[in-house]
């Protein structure tokens, strides 16, 4: 009297005795019912009922008073944001579970080879013990754009700056009164021309007088120099203001090292660098040329990568997800590994397989059931992911980082309080998981036939 229908209080129907091998113990239906009852009752009341409610609710408008039929679904699919959200959710589902499972597998297998595996596991596992909110804050800190605050950019900038030099006066620029105007690419060119005998004045501003690099001395007005063109490059602003604009006043700093070029018809005919007192001298060839300050003087310092900008925001958040969840995969896979028959691995080694082959041909297949569990759990979890995205993605790039679950939260609770639309998104999510479920059914069927 094995295997009879025990669910939903239905009458006991005999089940084809074919696949009998599975039913070890000839369960009486009421026993199965007893084991399932608590779960079924709780799930029905706490999860299935809200789904039913959502289906019904998704047919009504924002405040639930007017029936709109499938209008919410129509709104959803005519919204551009949905497209981004679906695309990003697809990226998440394709990348994150595989990445996390892979990491977990590698960690679980490799830690078996070291004595300090517990310490290592603890380190990997720790992020799981951190709340989503705290994790979000951690990664806001990590990805902070300012290299003085965000560790990721501090590293990137540090590496970059050891290989490339930045300019000395990144923020400087000619004062608005001066004759020099921006001429593209960060360079400045004078509108007038140089003439021998008349010292050129190059007043720059935009640097705090007490923060000039190298703390140079005061500037001096250049003397006219024979046939050549002389001039002064200086900071036309002293602490506390004052002084005449465009004139070298006492106490105004020189800006040594600034490169000046004389340009005729787009060609550089001469160039010079400002000395310690800010003065420079160009040869006679510069007479009649335009004065140009090349962009190399002002190139902005390298500020690192805009991790949370529109293009990198989703990979960056997936990275933080991997950080959090690798511990999950690792722990479950380690639990699975604990059940693997070591003799099989040993046998393979004795047969001359190398470690990689043992891993590929023996360990992974033996772990397959666990890996599938982990992968499916993560896939489904990733479909629901919203808090990390919500906390980490800065507002201006939240559009680009949008995922379906976040759209659901924003629609339902984000101010619009459109429960109707939110419910519709929930139902769409539920439908999207069906392919995963069908694969699962197939797997179960196969397993049964074993």
């Amino acid at each position: 009297m094995s295997s009879q229908l025990a669910t939903a209080g239905g009458p006991a129907n005999p089940v084809p005795p074919a696949g009998k091998r599975k039913s070890v113990m000839g369960t009486r239906p009421w026993v199965a019912a007893l084991f399932l009852l608590p779960a079924i009752v709780l799930l029905g009341a706490l999860v299935v009922y809200p789904i039913g409610y959502s289906v019904w609710r998704s047919l009504y408008d924002a405040d639930g008073s007017g029936f709109v039929g499938l209008g919410n679904y129509g709104d959803l699919f005519s919204d551009d944001a949905t497209f981004t959200a679906v695309k990003n959710t697809a990226i998440w589902v394709a990348v994150a579970p595989a990445l996390v499972t892979g990491l977990g597998l590698v960690f679980a297998v490799l830690t078996e080879r070291v004595r300090w595996s517990t310490a290592f596991k603890l380190v990997i596992f720790m992020p799981m013990a951190i709340s989503m909110l705290a994790a979000g804050i951690i990664f806001r800190l990590v990805y902070e754009a300012d290299p003085d605050q965000g560790v990721a950019n501090a590293v990137v900038v540090g590496v970059h700056d050891t290989f490339a030099e930045s300019s000395v006066y990144p923020k400087a620029r000619p004062s608005t009164e001066s004759d020099l105007k921006a001429s593209g690419g960060g360079a400045f060119t004078s509108t007038g021309t140089l003439s021998a005998g008349t010292p050129a004045l190059v007043p720059l501003v935009g640097i705090a007088p007490n923060k000039v690099p190298g703390d140079p001395g005061d500037a001096t007005s250049a003397e006219p120099s024979g046939d050549g063109v002389s001039g002064t490059v200086w900071l036309d602003f002293k602490l506390g203001g004052g002084g005449e604009k465009g004139a070298v006043d006492a106490g105004e700093k020189a800006l040594p090292g600034i490169k000046v070029e004389a340009v005729k018809d787009g060609k550089v005919v001469a160039s010079a660098k400002a000395g310690d007192d800010g003065t420079f001298t160009l040869p006679a060839a510069a007479d009649g040329a335009q004065l140009r300050l090349p962009e190399s003087n002002f190139a902005a310092p390298y500020n690192g990568v805009d991790w949370l900008g529109p293009s990198l925001v989703t990979p960056a958040i997936i990275g933080s997800y991997a950080w959090m969840w690798a511990g999950f995969a690792m722990v479950l896979i380690a639990a699975g590994l604990a059940g693997v028959d070591r003799n099989l691995l040993e046998a393979a080694r004795v047969d001359g397989a190398n470690e990689w082959q043992v891993f590929r041909r023996v360990t992974v297949p033996l772990l397959a059931p666990v890996l599938v569990v982990v992968l499916i759990t993560l896939m489904i979890n990733v479909m629901k992911i919203f808090d990390l995205v919500f906390i980490i993605a800065p507002q201006p790039s939240q559009d680009e980082a949008n995922v379906l679950a976040l759209q659901l939260v924003n629609a339902s609770f984000g101010g619009g309080n459109n429960q109707g639309l939110g419910s519709a998104i929930g139902i769409v999510l539920l439908l999207l998981v069906m392919p995963v479920m069908i694969v699962n059914i197939r797997r179960l069927r196969k397993e049964r036939r074993r």
Partner: protein, 316 residues
């Protein structure tokens, strides 16, 4: 972590008796002696690479947490002014003020207790009910079993948010809205699908012979469950327990809405300490570590379960 010089034990043969312990730090200590020198060397380098790799990974993993930890010991004005790594060059910035401010508040200590009151039953119930259902799905036969199972798994995808309003409604009618019980029930409902999914799959891997043997000894379902399934499912149950524990422990959304001023847990109490329009690192960072202490203790308590091969030993 001073193990770099320790000769590694061969992978995956915990204490196999007569394995020839090779003092030459070869990775495969238990490797058959007839292996060539070249393969031993390769093994050695691979072992070294493994250790280096793991150390690098560990550093990478621990850095963000260290950042948070360092921030939790800094003054908010310092946090706003510079990166956390500055504490290494300026240890004078370290202060425990954020911690003493938080721990000095009665709300926080009360809320910690509420968190325990919510988390422990929510975890135990999910594990017990989930294990029962998982066993039924793995080893009992009834019509439509696979479909029922898949339906349960499909519930994994239900976002918590869609249940807030209907369950608030339901719990209000039952009179448990705002109570610890309401919060616990919510977590049980949303913890069960994963529990059933995980445990069913682990239980299904238990060798049939063991169950049949117990059956022949005259064990009934309940005894089978208690004496075979539960002990053999140890690692899986422990993993499930710890994850369910952590998820409930760290939940804020459900607690914010389903608890009231008498039953609110730590996460909600912590947000009360934050300021609107602020980064709030000085509250959230120490808060994260205060609330991490207990989960990590739980992990340590169960870690034997993860590592030791309870199942492996029994099965072989």
């Amino acid at each position: 972590m001073t193990t770099s010089s320790v000769p590694l034990k061969g992978p995956g043969e915990p204490g196999e008796p007569g394995s020839p312990a090779q003092p030459s730090a070869a990775v495969d200590a238990a490797g058959p002696p007839e292996r060539s020198l070249a393969s031993k060397l390769a093994g050695f380098f691979a072992g070294g690479a493994v250790r280096v790799f793991l150390v690098v990974v560990a550093l990478l993993w621990v850095t963000p947490t260290v950042g948070l930890l360092a921030s939790s010991f800094r003054d908010p004005t310092d946090i706003a002014a510079s990166g956390w790594w500055e504490v290494f060059s300026k240890p004078s910035q370290l202060t425990t003020e954020s911690y003493s401010t938080l721990l000095g508040k009665e709300e926080i200590t009360d809320a910690l207790w509420n968190t325990v009151l919510i988390t422990v039953p929510a975890t135990v119930l999910v594990v017990v009910i989930g294990a029962m259902a998982g066993y039924a799905f793995a080893w009992m036969d009834f019509k439509g079993r696979d479909w029922w199972f898949v339906a349960v798994v499909a519930l994994l995808v239900v976002p918590i948010q869609i249940a807030l309003i209907p369950l608030a409604d339901l719990f209000g009618d039952l009179g448990i809205f705002g109570s610890v019980l309401g919060v616990v029930l919510f977590h049980v409902g949303f913890g069960l699908p994963f529990a059933i999914f995980l445990l069913r799959n682990f239980f299904a891997e238990i060798p049939r012979e063991l169950l049949e043997a117990a059956r022949l000894d005259g064990a009934g379902e309940t005894r089978l469950f208690a004496t075979v399934i539960l002990p053999l499912g140890g690692p899986a149950i422990a993993s499930l327990g710890i994850f369910q524990f952590l998820w409930v422990w760290n939940d804020m959304l459900v607690a914010l809405i389903f608890s009231d001023s008498g039953s609110r847990p730590l996460t909600v109490a912590l947000t009360e300490q934050t300021r609107q329009f602020s980064g709030n690192i000085e509250t959230l960072a120490p808060g994260a570590f205060i609330s991490m202490v207990i989960p990590l203790a739980v992990f340590f308590a169960f870690q034997r379960q993860f590592v030791s091969g309870v199942m492996a030993g029994a099965v072989k």
